[in-house]
């Protein structure tokens, strides 16, 4: 397998409710930004990560659509889906194409256009990441599923309602420094605790929002990157993916994400790194409790102690291991299919020293963790400047 580098990255300019932009507009804007950043004009292959353009806008065949609208025909183009891990899974596919020698320059893009449907249809579309017949049929909802995890974690480890709130507060503090974020402003613990209850104990401010947005990355062999780019070369040290049961009730342990733990183990092994070596991470905080459990599954904190991470400042900018310097899904937004790729964009910029007000000083090794549904799939990547 060849060594793979991230040659260029880009997002569309702002994430949020983009009434004037269609699904293809958003993707093309992000892709062009990434191509410009990479300094290339043509690619061999395109991989599109998107959870469900079918349910949100009634559009399928995104590979062909995006290749066409980017003027890249006849490049091979495919859509990859893994619910909320679609972006990370798409990035993994792009990585494999370059690593295997099947392609030399690959564009990976993640996109979701969520506001062309009303709240009810959006909820339905998102619920498709769960077991439709045995979870969604009973009206569990996504916040409901994560609320079940939160209750189990609180019951077993004594994680508190305030500790959950600290995750949202920290991510907003980071997001306030990110002009492209959907909600680039700070919030307080009191704000979180006073927000409307959605699914006990999770409130509105524990939940990532509905967002339109896209992110893209250009991949090529490390050797090519050294030739083409003047920027620090960001190498993909590891790419790993793992699955777990689709239904939460089929898991042995409701307070753990087996797919994340598995993917992380594989990734650390492949990268020759340990959790302590990670300088900065972007993880899947679809709900505040998710970040808490993910940190444990990544081995960044001890089992059961995830609640203390944000509360103690460990995962804040300036802390031991800054997590979600972009603002995370909570503050930056969560256009489902785009998230996994946007995580790569943030880490690449951190490792290149381009993160400005949210720069982690001396960051050399970064990790992204993207997760689908309630942990039915997880994708973990590790990056290093070489």
């Amino acid at each position: 397998m060849r060594d793979v580098a991230v040659l260029g990255v880009g997002l569309n300019s702002k994430w949020g409710e983009l009434w004037e932009m269609s699904l293809r507009d958003i993707f093309v804007e992000a892709a062009l930004n990434a191509l410009d950043d990479a300094g290339v004009d043509r690619v061999d292959s395109i991989v599109v990560g998107c959870m469900t353009s079918g349910l949100f806008v009634g559009q399928e065949h995104l590979g062909s659509l995006m290749s066409d609208y980017l003027g890249m025909n006849p490049a091979a183009a495919t859509r990859v889906e893994s619910a909320c891990a679609s972006g990370g899974a798409a990035f993994r596919q792009g990585f494999l194409e370059v690593a295997s020698g099947a392609a030399d320059i690959v564009l990976v893009g993640g996109v979701e256009k969520m506001t062309d449907v009303g709240g009810d249809e959006a909820t339905y579309a998102l619920s498709a990441a769960s077991d439709m017949e045995y979870e969604a049929y009973h009206g569990i909802t996504f916040p409901g599923l994560y609320a079940l995890i939160a209750r189990a974690h609180m019951h077993r480890f004594g994680t508190t309602r305030e500790q959950l709130a600290h995750v949202a507060v920290k991510n907003h503090r980071h997001g306030a420094r990110n002009p492209a974020a959907q909600y680039p402003y700070e919030i307080t613990v009191e704000d979180v605790l006073a927000s409307v209850m959605v699914a006990d104990p999770l409130r509105v401010l524990d939940c990532s929002p509905i967002t339109d947005g896209a992110a893209a990355a250009v991949l090529c062999p490390v050797e090519t990157a050294r030739k083409l780019s003047k920027k620090p070369v960001v190498k993909v040290l590891a790419s790993a993916q793992a699955s777990s049961t689709i239904a939460l009730h089929s898991r042995k342990d409701l307070t753990w994400f087996e797919s994340t733990a598995e993917a992380a183990q594989k990734a650390y092994r492949m990268a020759g790194k340990r959790p302590e070596d990670i300088d900065v991470a972007e993880v899947h905080d679809c709900f505040t409790i998710a970040e808490i459990v993910v940190l444990e599954a990544l081995g960044l904190v001890e089992r059961g102690k995830g609640g203390q991470a944000a509360e103690s400042g460990m995962t804040a900018l300036g802390g031991k291991i800054p997590v979600n310097t972009s603002g995370g899904l909570k503050s930056k937004g969560h256009p489902v299919g785009a998230t996994g790729v946007a995580q790569v964009v943030e880490i690449a910029r951190q490792l290149r020293g381009e993160s400005g007000a949210r720069q982690v000083e001396g960051a050399r090794v970064g990790l992204t963790q993207n997760m689908g549904g309630t942990g039915g799939s997880s994708v973990v990547h590790i990056f290093e400047t070489v």
Partner: protein, 130 residues
């Protein structure tokens, strides 16, 4: 969601809690499967799950999908039925303050959804305090 054929084929599970027990290793799957996730065997027998269980975790949905508007807020949880199989189900007839990990429950037949005012009615299991 409630297309007739799609609903109808799950009736043995929704109405009678029919599960599949692997003949080789004894693991029970609900709903039944074609291949055992434990031992890869493809040989199963039909068994019925217990109608008694214990609440493992729960939440109260306060912002729910519109088809549950008349019932919101409602409680949902993961229930471990006696015998070990877990299901996701609404917890009905229970004051929210009484919800607790470990609460003993029994299964009751309820209407889960309706397909509008003219579509089919979809029934299934909910759990009530034992």
């Amino acid at each position: 969601m409630a297309n007739p054929a799609r609903y109808w084929r799950e009736i043995p599970q929704r109405y009678r809690l029919e599960a599949g027990k692997c003949k080789t290793c004894g693991t029970v799957f609900f709903p039944p499967r074609l291949v055992c996730a434990q031992c890869r065997s493809r040989s199963f027998e039909t068994v019925r799950l217990s109608d008694q269980g214990t609440l493992v975790t729960y939440t109260v949905i306060r912002v729910g999908p519109s088809q549950f508007a008349d019932q919101t807020p409602y409680a949902v949880g993961i229930v471990e039925l006696d015998g070990g199989v877990r299901i996701t189900a609404q917890i009905a007839d229970c004051d929210f303050e009484k919800l607790a990990v470990g609460l003993r429950l029994r299964v009751e037949f309820r209407r889960i959804q309706k397909q509008g005012e003219a579509g089919i009615l979809c029934y299934g299991y909910k759990c009530v305090p034992a």
